[in-house]
Symmetry: C2
Subunit: 390 residues, 2 copies
Amino acid sequence: MSAPTAARAGDEDRLARAALSRVVEPGDHRVLRLVRELGAVTVRDALLAQRGQAPAADVAARLAEVDPHAELDRAARTGLRFVVPGDQEWPSGLDDLARPEPLQHRGDVPLGLWVRGPLRLDALHSAVAVVGARSATTYGTRVAGDLAAAVGRAGLPVLSGAAFGIDDAAHRGALGAGGTTVAVLACGADRVYPEAHRSLVEHLAATAAVVSETPPGGAPTRVRFLSRNRLIAALGRGTVVVEAAVRSGALNTANWTERLHRPLGAVPGPVTSAASQGAHQLVRSGAAAVVTSGQEVLELVGRAGEALVDEPRAPARPRDRISARQRVVLDAVPVGRGVGSDAVARACGFGLVETGAELQRLRALGLVDGDAGWRLTDLARRDRPEGGEP
Amino acid sequence: MSAPTAARAGDEDRLARAALSRVVEPGDHRVLRLVRELGAVTVRDALLAQRGQAPAADVAARLAEVDPHAELDRAARTGLRFVVPGDQEWPSGLDDLARPEPLQHRGDVPLGLWVRGPLRLDALHSAVAVVGARSATTYGTRVAGDLAAAVGRAGLPVLSGAAFGIDDAAHRGALGAGGTTVAVLACGADRVYPEAHRSLVEHLAATAAVVSETPPGGAPTRVRFLSRNRLIAALGRGTVVVEAAVRSGALNTANWTERLHRPLGAVPGPVTSAASQGAHQLVRSGAAAVVTSGQEVLELVGRAGEALVDEPRAPARPRDRISARQRVVLDAVPVGRGVGSDAVARACGFGLVETGAELQRLRALGLVDGDAGWRLTDLARRDRPEGGEP
């Protein structure tokens, strides 16, 4: 055991957490709860004291073999740091993981996070998680990229995994907008899965951060993905699900977001697309709000009064510029066959003289045609409201 | 004035309503309210008494010229009937229009409905209105047709307008499924607008019903479309908006549906499609529930316990058929590089012997490969949950 360099003097808690990180699976809520309640040093020592005794014999034996100084040294040499509770950059959102019940046997506050990259993790308190299906559609990847770009342009970091599909599109969208984007991995933060995303993950490690609860070298397993999902939900300010099939890891992340009482949004899509079924279920169940634009995502995760959305409005139309009386007359003019002024007067309820005068003004505006009885012009017809009107 | 044939003896109320229908615009809530509170005969007589006196002089003069017997005779000769409150087939849902405040100066219970077709209007109490944009997308028309077909197959009538786009698709979808479908028009029930839908409207008149508040011969005007929309909302059991731009007549129908406290559904679509913006707004505002399938539409309008939806589930997977302990072991096996039994044992938390035995069983099931360390097979990888997991 060489002199500790990564661990500072008195950093017994960090060393205990690093050692436990080697023998405790990510998201093992039983051990994590003990660590949270008793402290890492106490739990480590208690485990070590059980060497040779069932049922903890195996864990204790492995724990005895771990040299946490060497672990931290080796991590530091490969550009990794181990961020633990109490560190200045500790992302305090993770502490909220102490509250919810376990989900699929995973839960609680991690021992620490293995991090590669220059970004301080406490910057993630304003991050937005953008998650979804690996087998995304071109629609989904386009929307994920657009939403992540809007988040990036607003100066908020994006959080996602490193999978194909939505994760990939979210990182690239944020990067394209000059934003900060962070990958939370199920494998060790020194590894890349899938291999096809090596250059993406290396870029995130060089410019922002790549984060994992799994110690360096660790392989991606299903339990580690399930554990990882709770971190994505807990690190940021809220989560947006872009596409998710019915049985989807993104729904697991959504579930954690809901359990943490963080804002959860879901992007609708074609009802004919299986990739959008999960998102629609989240909305139907009341778990998620519908989000359809970057502005709406910012509104979703914004603090009160921040980023309030202007609901989309149609462009101004000629009929917006005429008087209320003129509109009443205009609305009484038929689309097809022309009719006499008397018929229009009857339909609008004004007198014949007044109706005639307004019809002349509407003709001057190009909205009605009086050549063969009064009827709407093409301009007025184009101007008509959508959806059922003539 | 010839002998009344369409009006039966003592049918003074029907005659008064027919006469008023000629001089009162559809949805004129001031007059309709008086009729509802004082009776049609009283209102007609009061108006007639004001002949020559402003401001009702014009209406009174026109009313004096109307021969309601002749109106009803002429209607009957062209296959039209005038259905009024108190008639056996009067669709009682319309009476609910007495409650909401006017919207865009339109409202209240109509004087009566001019109807062409064999369907009794009281059959519409179980109808579902399917409405949306004229300028619908192929996506929207496909979904409208599918939903209307599901409604038709369930034995419920479909209600819509007669416009291009969603209205058209809804009728054709219902007809294709052998369903009953009814058009509510803004022009007279003897007319067709747009002309391109003549054969569709004639088919509905021959097989079900074409309905209008506007008297025979009346032209389609904007106020009549706005008045018509409240009837679509009030006639049926609920309304589904398939596609609607931000400024859309379908949103007016949706608004009436909400004001009548009837179920309102909206079909999501691509957020990149302007045609779906209105539907998404309805969901975001809390006015409408998301509906994504015919079953969900039936659930929306169903009485409690009717047509409960089975949420879509993914097909069963091999991992559904293994034991819980085997799943824990399987979930600890990495995707990429193979690892030793000891690594899997550590990750899953079981002893080495037990882990080894479960790995052999999983190998026999074709889920893990032990040739170069333990790793998931293609079968297990295909079987993995969507969205973030390996």
